[in-house]
């Protein structure tokens, strides 16, 4: 007899929570969600691009224009200014892809954010790392870029012994790592919270002691609240990832630190 079986409550191993059976040897649930995110995003913008742009936008076109304006006004103008408007397609793709990978975590019967596995966040962070470094090298030249990153101007010469290793680690290692881990850990934590409260309410609703059944309302209420919270988190993480990408690109493309 186990302690948890007093409630018939067994927390499954974490890999049961994070995996489906592989559909094919190289395709699993997370892969399917990623592909579906791309297809949905492409579909929305395809439908938007097909509609007559002259009339007042509605439906898919309205949605697409709202997202584009959100990216331009709330992210690019706030972090890069109007010189960064050329980055709209890139940041827009990042935002839509991450959001559509996050949001299955709260869609019933799917309930698995693709970003709760490290694969997609790691790739996105690596890509952002490559992009902002390439932007810096393109705008300032390889020497100028590494000089402005490692030896930021306006620092006393003696402090470089302290500043340079910190800048080296923070720019080239901590930035992509924290981008990936922030997205991944937020979504995994939310997913585990939902699982825990769902299992707890299920166990209480099916308890052998009848007195425990009404108590199950409490974790179920928390579950509903957390589901609403996860909707917010899914949006917020996509927003933060995109904003940080914009900030990093902006930092790399301007010499002043």
């Amino acid at each position: 007899m186990n302690v948890t079986t007093l409630l018939a409550f067994e927390f499954p191993p974490i890999n049961v929570l994070l995996r489906w059976q592989d559909v094919a040897p190289t395709i699993n649930k997370v892969v399917l969600i990623g592909i579906a995110a791309v297809l949905i995003g492409t579909g929305i913008f395809l439908a938007a691009a097909r509609k007559d742009p002259k009339v007042a936008p509605k439906g898919a076109r309205n949605l697409a224009e709202v997202i584009i304006e959100f990216i331009e006004k709330q992210i690019i103008m706030q972090t890069m200014g109007s010189s960064g408007l050329a980055w709209t397609p890139f940041l827009l793709s990042i935002f839509i892809f991450i959001y559509l990978c996050n949001v299955p975590g709260v869609i019933p019967f799917i309930q698995m954010p693709a970003t709760a596995r490290m694969g997609i966040p790691a790739f996105m962070a690596l890509m952002v790392w490559v992009v902002y470094n390439a932007t810096g090298i393109k705008h300032q030249g390889p020497v100028g870029y590494f000089k402005s990153v490692l030896f930021p101007p306006g620092v006393p010469k003696a402090l470089y012994i302290l500043v340079t290793p910190i800048e080296l680690i923070s720019t080239f290692i901590v930035r992509p790592f924290s981008l990936a881990v922030r997205l991944f850990a937020n979504m995994l934590a939310g997913h585990l919270l939902l699982v825990i409260f769902a299992l707890l309410s299920e166990a209480l609703f099916q308890a052998r002691d009848r007195i425990l059944i009404p108590v199950g309302v409490l974790p179920f209420a928390v579950l509903l609240f957390l589901t609403g919270f996860e909707v917010l988190v899914a949006f917020l993480q996509a927003y933060i990832f995109t904003t940080l990408t914009a900030v990093y690109i902006n930092m790399a493309s301007h010499a002043e630190h």
């Binding site: 191993p13 890999n15 791309v38 395809l46 938007a48 936008p57 224009e65 490290m118």
Partner: protein
């Protein structure tokens, strides 16, 4: 495992909860890159072009509305200017009429005053003449009385000039 050097995965527990799986990473990368390419090259420019075109139409509409409004404002200003002109003309006319009226009245008043003054002068002259005549009569009467009295007292008739002087001096002294 792509990052398997960082985190050692347990073999029989399925995938590591932290380390990225190769297939997820590669499929995610491939699908995102396709998405990025499609968005970058086809979809976003097309949607943006439509948005810009519509905003252009809206801005044009705004500008036409602005132009119409400003021309209407010009019309209103011209109307108001002409109104002010007419008003000032009317005011000038009224002023002119009032002025002519004033000058006529003043002229008439001056005429009347002149007439009154001439009449007063005539009357004054008549009064003066009457007074002078009365004085002459009084002086003659007093002279004759004085000459008679002097003749009676002294027995001889006094010189007429002396009598006249004495009477004049007495009358003027009495008056003063």
């Amino acid at each position: 495992m792509f990052f398997s050097t960082i985190i050692l995965a347990a073999e029989d527990m399925g995938p590591n909860p932290i380390a990225p799986e190769n297939k997820e990473l590669l499929w995610g990368a491939g699908s995102f890159l396709v998405f990025l390419f499609v968005m970058r090259v086809f979809l976003v420019p097309k949607v943006k072009k439509g948005m810009d075109a519509r905003y252009g139409v809206i801005r044009e509409g705004h500008e036409t509305a602005q132009a119409t409004r400003s021309s209407a404002q010009g019309d209103v200003a011209a109307y108001e200017a002409s109104l002010a002109e007419v008003r000032s003309e009317a005011a000038a006319r009224i002023d002119k009429a009032r002025q002519t009226l004033d000058t006529e009245r003043q002229a008439k008043m001056a005429q009347a005053a002149e007439r009154i003054a001439s009449k007063r002068a005539e009357a004054d002259k008549a009064i003066e003449a009457a007074r002078a005549a009365a004085r002459g009569e009084v002086a003659a009467a007093v002279g004759s009385v004085t000459a008679r009295a002097t003749q009676l007292v002294l027995g001889k008739s006094p010189d007429a000039n002396v009598v006249k002087r004495a009477v004049d001096s007495t009358m003027s002294g009495g008056r003063s």
